[in-house]
């Protein structure tokens, strides 16, 4: 049963130093506000898993929270590079960053295996690529019926998964819709989970395309309107494309990034 709580309390309780942390949301519903709270609480040595690290993990990485990144595509969508990510990989700043790299299909299936309670998933993929050689998390399995060789990836079971959703009811049942990405699987695969929501409602009216996470698979719900900014929440807010573009200059420069951290995160004054 999910408890309804505040974001600082939820992060304090559920996100721990050294955790495997997954913050998911595929372009849509990215839990930025929760990430900023993780930075504010100075979490460190995190293994941060996410299909598309995006600005949210560029910020966590630049702030020194992350020891290892598990991912499949690390760019600023439509803009260019993630400069804090590149600085960590290319120069070890502010701390060296270990990489565990997959394809989208591999990452998605790793969450599926985790959500399903099995230790691995099977897919067509990786065959002939250099990814297999550089990731300990890719193996080959043989079909016991046809003899065909396929790829296997290990289940990804985060210690804690954080997602953002449109709404929850007072019992802690969560409802999200629009592009729902891999959030259901990431929550079900995790040992602990935290959901930030735009609003708390008495009832969850049925909604086309909605995914419901029953309260009994969620640990905490925190009401954080705009908690996905600068990404968007379908039905509540638009994507702040200007923020993504402005991030390019901020993140290129360590000093500018440090200023951003001070002014926008550590003060708690972040717009999100």
């Amino acid at each position: 049963m999910a408890r309804i709580t505040t974001l600082p309390d939820a992060v304090a309780e559920l996100v721990r130093d050294g955790d495997v942390l997954a913050m998911e949301g595929f372009t849509h519903l990215i839990p930025f506000a929760a990430a900023h709270e993780v930075i504010r609480q100075r979490r460190h040595d995190l293994t941060a898993a996410r299909m598309t690290p995006d600005l949210i993990y560029d910020q966590l990485i630049g702030a020194g929270c992350v020891r290892k990144l598990v991912f499949s595509w690390g760019g600023n969508p439509g803009v260019g590079s993630l400069h804090r990510f590149r600085d960590a990989v290319e120069n070890g700043w502010p701390v060296p960053l270990e990489l565990e790299e997959h394809s989208h299909a591999g990452m998605a299936n790793r969450y599926v295996a985790g959500a399903s309670g099995v230790p691995f998933a099977v897919l067509r993929g990786y065959s002939g690529t250099s990814l297999a050689g550089h990731s300990p998390g890719v193996a080959t399995v043989t079909c016991p019926f046809t003899g065909e060789q396929l790829s296997a990836v290990p289940a990804l079971c985060p210690d804690v998964t954080v997602v953002h959703a449109q709404r929850a009811d007072r019992a802690g049942n969560v409802q999200l819709w629009g592009i729902t990405g891999v959030q259901k699987e990431a929550v079900l695969a995790a040992r602990r989970s935290l959901v930030t929501v735009e609003e708390l409602v008495d009832e969850l009216p049925p909604q086309p395309g909605a995914v419901v996470l029953p309260t009994w698979v969620v640990d905490a719900v925190a009401v954080v309107p705009g908690g996905a900014h600068p990404s968007y929440t379908q039905g509540f807010s638009k994507r702040d494309n200007g923020y993504y573009q402005a991030w390019d200059a901020i993140s290129r420069d360590r000093a500018a990034f440090a200023r951003w951290l001070d002014e926008q995160v550590y003060t708690g004054e972040v717009r999100a």
Partner: protein, 259 residues
Amino acid sequence: MSEVSWTTDEMMTVVAARALPDRALCFVGIGLPSTAANLAKATHAPDLVLVYESGTLGAKPPHLPLSIGDGILAETADTVVSVPEVFNYWLQPGRIDVGFLGAAQIDRFGNINTTVIGDYREPKVRLPGAGGAPEIAASCREVVVVVRQSTRTLVPEVDFVTSVGFGRGAGDRERLGLTGAGPRRVITDLGVLEPDPADCELTLTRLHPGVSVEQARDATGWPLRVAADVGVAEPPTAAELGVLRRLEATVGGRGGPRA
């Protein structure tokens, strides 16, 4: 038809759009592929089916999306499925006709690198990585690659095989269990390369208007083969350019140009 001027990016986009037959199912990445697919849909291929890796099947965006997860894709899709589902149920079994890929490097056998320039552990440039590309390259019935041609991008051998083209040549795809036909077309700002039917080496088959074979050779990191019957592509029509520019002006639904 009046003479109109156009940029090399516009030429690439128009050639890419023309590569899409009507009613085809197209797996669309953001940037030029999305522009090309939406251009095709707005011109000769109104029933092109756009599939984005965000899980939006049959999206019909009235303007160009800025990301593969724009809300307009979900709002106009025939259905929105989860990300695991789009890869497992829709891409992996070979249901998609055409997949678009970009490349930081592509080699003579069409293998693609979007991961790293230099050594993986000591990178010169760290690139975004794989995303959906390896499985698009593996499973779409056919792949179209769009890349600006230079000796830095068209290299004899990629530093890292993110997505497999033809491996080390003919027969490798079958050996690796890759079900799709691989990169049948590489569209650059200079022309079009296609795999040699015998050994799968990328071969220049078409030039854009005003480009010479020498220019293409000079911009290729290996001794480029040229097809005997190398042709010249039709320049963009005024109609194509009109639609393209109108689309580009509405990217993200804001009426402004894309960053």
